[in-house]
Structures are given as structure tokens and as C-alpha cells.
Symmetry: C2
Subunit: 171 residues, 2 copies
């Protein structure tokens, strides 16, 4: 199946000059959604994964089915103020300003093998912050998975040394 | 498995006087997460479901695996400003003020059979707004599923006439 053909380009979103890759047109297609999850799961068929960690909000759409299929637990990374118990946080820089991501400090046990999932790898800031959160809690990052990678933004440079999976590439 | 025993009570979150039901302690447990998804899927084993619609953000954690397991497409309901293409929106009242939910206007085809999923049924405002969105697009709501229902808030009164599934009840 040509997954890329199901992604909708939306010009000037969220700001002028950005060509937004809209995944909603792919995931509403049952066969395409299934293929994405199956291809991700196949990549980790020989990998022990205790926990899938995914980044709010679109990361949950891929991370939660992958956790289910791999027989792993699921841990949500959230934007500030959403988690009710004690948290640890990481901030990262954007073109303008900073973003912060949070996780419960008891979400991962030391030594657990963790797969990090998000919908899209752009500049890599949120994925790197998430890897840092997992490692601060004592987790071992066994992979980082995306449906889409925007190769021209070189986000994987921030994840060197980790096993990176991306199903769809834009040069 | 005693799913309720894995939910953490956090007092005074997000505001003083609220006892928050923290699901993160359940879903990080692989066996418990699997059981939740399997029990939901079993409930719809004899139901044709074309699309699972879930409410940002925690609803995705249950809705996306359920879509995968049922062989359905997935449609995210989002908070304002997040969806890039043309949307329809519904607002609903809270104790103080209003919230708005949005969906792409081409997310559901008329006649598609739609299952609505969220983590928790409280007063029912967001679930009812989502049902309205689905029906405005011509979808047929074949069920509304939650992991938790706070019975004392009577949210199901806003969903009378629909098939409601809740795995865990608090009186």
C-alpha cells in the first residue's frame, strides 16, 4: 500500500510557509492504519519491549496500538500541567521559545526496556527530550519510531546511537 | 484482574476538592492495558464498526488500539486549532465556561458506523458533543465506550438511547 499517497498536504499550517503533513486522511483508512501498526510491530518482533512511551497527542495514536500489539505497557508523555502525580520534566528549544514535556516520576522502573513513539520526526526536539526523560527514570531506550520523517530537518542527528524507524520519508 | 485496584486516586487535582482518577498506573501495566482493550473489543465483536472516534488526548490511548483490533479507521476529535483542514465544531458547557471540540468535515462518510471512545465518562459534555459531531457528518453512532464511569455525575443521561460501555464504575 502506498501510505504516502494517503497523507494530505495542507499549505500554510500552522503558520504561513509551512506545508503541513496531515495524517488524519491516512489513519481514517482502516487498511492503512493497520499496515502502519503492523509494520512498526514487525520491526520490533525480535526486540523485548516492556514499555511504549508516546508523545502527546498524535503519538498516542500509534504508540498505544503498538503497546497493545507488542504486549507492553503504555506511558504517556504530556504537556505541562496535565499529569496529576509527581513529575519530571524536560524543556527543549524551538525556533521561537521553548516547549516542555512531562512524565510521572514513577512511570518507568529502572532497567525497563522502552520504545519511544511519535507520529513525526521533524527537528527532533520533542523526541530527544522524551529519550532524556526515559533515561533519567532509569529506562533503557531500545528504539525510537515515527510514521513520518522530514529528512531535510535532520532530526535524527539529535538521536544518534539509537535505533530509529520511520515508515515514510520526505527528502 | 482487578482493574480498579490499579487506578491511583490523586486528591485535589486539577482543583481542590476533586479526587482525580489517574489511569497512568493502570495502562503502564501491560496485562491490565491488554485486558482493557480486549474487554472493549469483545463487547463489539458482533458489531460492524467502520470508524473509531476518540477524544483528545487520553481517549486516543484506548480508541486507537480498539480501532486497530476491530479493523476500523481512526478519527481524532481535537481541541480548537489543532486540525489543519476544514472543521466542524461543537461547544458544551462546563461548571465554569465552555469547551469546544473539532473534527475534520471530511473525516466520516455518511452512513459509516462509528464507535465513540474516551477514557472517562464524567458529566458527559464532551461525549455528547462528540456524538453530535459524528451525526452532523452523517455517521451512525453504534456505541460509546469508556474505561471509567463516574456514576454519581449521571453523564449517561446525556447519552440516552445509545449503547454505553463502561468497564469500571464509581458510585
Amino acid at each position: 500500500m502506498d501510505l504516502a499517497s494517503l497523507i494530505r498536504d495542507v499549505p500554510d499550517f500552522p503558520v504561513k510557509g509551512i506545508l503541513f503533513k496531515d495524517i488524519t486522511t491516512l489513519i481514517r483508512n482502516a487498511d492503512a492504519f493497520r499496515e502502519v501498526i503492523d509494520r512498526m510491530a514487525d520491526h520490533y518482533a525480535e526486540t523485548d519491549v516492556d514499555i511504549v512511551v508516546a508523545i502527546e497527542a498524535r503519538g498516542y495514536i500509534f504508540g498505544a496500538p503498538l503497546a497493545y500489539k507488542l504486549g507492553a505497557g503504555f506511558v504517556p508523555i504530556r504537556k505541562p500541567g496535565k499529569l496529576p502525580a509527581k513529575i519530571v520534566s524536560e524543556s527543549y528549544t524551538l525556533e521561537y521559545g521553548t516547549n516542555t514535556l512531562e512524565v510521572h516520576e514513577d512511570a518507568i522502573e529502572p532497567g525497563q526496556r522502552v520504545l519511544v513513539v511519535d507520529d513525526l520526526l521533524a527537528t527532533g526536539g520533542s523526541a530527544r527530550a522524551t529519550v532524556n526523560l526515559v533515561e533519567r527514570l532509569g529506562g533503557e531506550v531500545v528504539g525510537v519510531a515515527f510514521m513520518i520523517e522530514l529528512d531535510f530537518l535532520h532530526g535524527r542527528d539529535k538521536l544518534s546511537g539509537y535505533d530509529i524507524l520511520s515508515l515514510i520519508h520526505y527528502d
